[in-house]
């Protein structure tokens, strides 16, 4: 008896219309005069907070200005220079231990001006449970990594090799109750993006 796989594939083959050529869409995409400003505006519109910083050294100073950071007890950071970091994601054997994480600071690889999204990939020091379990998320993003739109983004990011990567655009949110926007559904209650340089 043929397997379900064979049955489905042969049904799809016999049902398929004449093969069409693969389209190469041209002339699509967004272009903005000032990428950093556009990106910052987009982050604000999706419920996040974006701060443009001039140099990396001021990271701790910028973080201290936020009450969710200054009051945090458990902080994980994948970015150097975060003084309060006291949880090492790489050390955590069971991701469930991260349930009471207050703040998670992550390094964004790329920002997208059209939608305020930041691309993050789970590296060796992964344990992405911490990203989503943390009450608050901070994304540190090099200013020169901001691109105009998703078309450009997919040319640059690594979303082909094994692992996990995600575009994060603002905090966890929902409008499932009478369409009232509520920030802080199940995941992080805030999303702060610090653009460096």
């Amino acid at each position: 008896m043929a397997s379900s796989r064979e049955i489905i594939l042969s049904a799809l083959r016999s049902a398929a219309p004449t093969p069409l050529p693969i389209p190469e869409p041209r002339g699509i995409g967004a272009r903005y005069p000032d990428l950093r400003q556009e990106f910052a505006k987009a982050v604000g519109e999706v419920g996040g907070r974006c701060v443009l910083l001039s140099a990396e050294g001021v990271l701790e100073e910028a973080l201290s200005g936020f009450s969710e950071y200054s009051q945090a007890k458990r902080v994980a950071s994948l970015v150097a220079g975060v003084d309060k970091a006291n949880v090492d994601l790489a050390d955590v054997k069971d991701p469930h231990e991260l349930h009471d994480l207050d703040v998670c600071v992550l390094l964004g690889e790329l920002g997208v001006a059209e939608n305020g999204a930041v691309w993050i990939r789970e590296g060796v020091a992964g344990n992405r449970a911490g990203w989503f379990l943390a009450q608050h998320m901070v994304l540190v993003l090099p200013g020169e990594s901001i691109v105009h739109d998703l078309h450009q983004a997919y040319e640059r990011i690594d979303a082909k090799s094994r692992g996990f990567g995600t575009f994060i655009s603002g905090p966890s949110k929902t409008a499932d109750i009478e369409q009232a926007l509520v920030i802080g559904a199940q995941g992080p209650r805030s999303c702060t993006v610090l653009v460096i340089g």
């Binding site: 469930h96 996990f164 655009s169 966890s172 499932d176 509520v182 199940q186 995941g187």
Partner: protein
């Protein structure tokens, strides 16, 4: 016509294995004229009876359409994007088997296991088998219309497995033991006071709460406990990428991410039409999806899964469940382009005023009305008529599904298969006869205008005239268009 024959066979009672509820509601005879509880209009009656609520629902949904308009019109290349989306989908469907094989090959390469299910039953059996083999008793699920379509939850619950839907709207309707009424906003038919009462009853929260912020916080605490306690997670798939073997899941709440980053088993369920050829194709669909759905530029989380987490298992279940049959039918093929954004229901004047539950299927609105008759034409024969054919659904569709055209094609097909009630058959025959004869058209037009202005109310507003229910007919004009035109040209 072979398709008509197939329909007749289906109508005589063989189809529909996955929807026991719909089977119960199927008509006993195709010509039944009275009490047709499976019909859209019948199911909408209770919803329509509450006028204030109907208008509240109408406005709430229209608000989404407005947001979609504002955001999409701010994208200068919107129409080119729609064309690109349509072309990529059409191309993919023309080589679907190839792309699925490529996806499977690459997914296995990344360490995932791939399963194939012909129908809902096999899908449910595979998922249950994976859970049972590992002794799983507590599962969290992020939103997946496919698992709703397959009725996976009751299947697993009957076998002693707790399934918790983790999308807030889905959790709300799950606690109410009812299906979602919208594919993007499952609880859009409910008022915040009702949700407060539900949480009081089911989650033990204080009585009389109605602030969405407070209610969302209660759900947050409840669901985070469920995430931490889960032994496995089930997710849907928004897009599977043939080129990489990975797939993408989009959520605003982060529930798919919380769900998949904790337990050691992730089962992702996808329909065969979810595959796209290349990674770069995602840019086109992701720019269209959230803008069309909720007026957001992108969802909060757009997660790319390429193989299992370290120390965990990843299984992908690829499901046909009638899709190859739709692919075979040229006139309906484009409905497989659908990326489940919900824009067609948000704009639909019938959906907005009748509510999602009136459709009696997992996917309501225009897209649901063209998909459902494939599964069971007899049970869903009224759905293609739950439309004014205004065409707004086709206009807003981000991948250019010709929805209103397909609704019209279905009407003809269901009529030829003898699946329409007597009232519709007689009215269509009579209408067709009149419209085909100029003299009859003019005569009955004049007669109608004369009669409508003179007959007593009871002749028009009675139980036999559906057009007189819940509405006042407009005053008949004194002259026809033709008469006005003649008169003006003569001046």
């Amino acid at each position: 016509m072979s398709s008509t024959r197939a329909l007749r066979q289906a109508a005589s009672g063989t189809a529909e294995t996955s929807r026991p509820a719909a089977r119960e509601q199927a008509p006993t005879g195709a010509g039944a004229t009275r009490s047709r509880p499976h019909e859209h209009a019948h199911k909408a009656a209770a919803f329509v009876a509450n006028d204030a609520r109907l208008h509240w629902h109408d406005q709430a949904i229209w608000f989404l359409r407005g947001k979609r308009d504002r955001v999409s019109s701010a994208v200068p290349d919107w129409e080119q994007l729609r064309s690109a989306g349509e072309q990529i989908k059409a191309h993919t469907l023309s080589r679907l088997a190839e792309y699925l094989e490529q996806f499977e090959r690459n997914a296995i390469q990344l360490g995932a296991r791939v399963h194939w299910a012909k129908d809902a039953e096999e899908h449910n059996r595979i998922v249950h088998g994976l859970l049972a083999e590992r002794g799983v008793q507590r599962v969290v699920k992020s939103k997946s219309m496919l698992t709703e379509e397959c009725h996976l939850n009751p299947y697993l619950e009957e076998r002693g497995i707790e399934v918790v839907d983790t999308d807030l709207g889905e959790r709300i309707v799950q606690l109410r033991r009812e299906p979602p009424s919208h594919i993007v906003m499952p609880a859009v038919h409910l008022k915040k006071e009702e949700i407060g009462e539900l949480f009081h009853q089911q989650l033990g929260s204080e009585e009389g709460l109605s602030d969405p912020k407070v209610l969302t916080e209660i759900a947050r605490q409840h669901l985070r406990q469920k995430f931490l306690a889960a032994q496995a997670t089930i997710s849907g798939v928004n897009f599977a990428i043939a080129e990489t073997g990975g797939f993408v899941v989009c959520t605003n709440e982060g529930n798919a991410d919380l769900g998949t980053s904790l337990p050691p088993l992730h089962i992702a369920c996808m329909g065969v039409e979810k595959v796209v050829p290349r990674l770069k194709d995602l840019a086109v669909f992701l720019r269209l999806l959230a803008r069309s759905a909720t007026g957001q530029p992108i969802t909060s989380y757009t997660s790319h899964f390429l193989g299992p987490r370290r120390g965990a298992e990843l299984h992908v279940v690829i499901v046909d469940h009638g899709r190859s049959g739709i692919l075979r039918r040229e006139e309906y093929r484009r409905s497989l382009h659908c990326i489940r954004c919900g824009a067609c229901m948000n704009t639909c004047p019938v959906y907005r005023r009748s509510g999602g539950h009136s459709y009696g299927v997992t996917v309501p609105g225009p897209i649901g009305s063209v998909l459902a008759p494939h599964i069971n034409p007899a049970a869903h024969s009224s759905l293609p008529f739950a439309s004014t054919l205004c065409g707004s659904c086709s206009d807003v569709c981000p991948v250019k599904v010709d929805l209103h055209h397909q609704l019209l094609v279905w009407r003809g097909e269901l009529g030829r298969a003898g699946l329409l009630p007597l009232s519709k058959r007689v009215a269509s025959k009579l209408g067709g006869w009149i419209l085909a004869r100029t003299w009859a058209y003019r005569f009955f037009g004049r007669l109608g205008r004369w009669l409508l202005a003179r007959v007593p109310r009871a002749v028009i507003y009675n139980r036999w005239n559906a057009w007189g229910r819940q509405r006042e007919l407009p005053a008949p004009p004194r002259e026809s268009f033709r008469e006005i035109y003649r008169r003006r040209r003569g001046q």
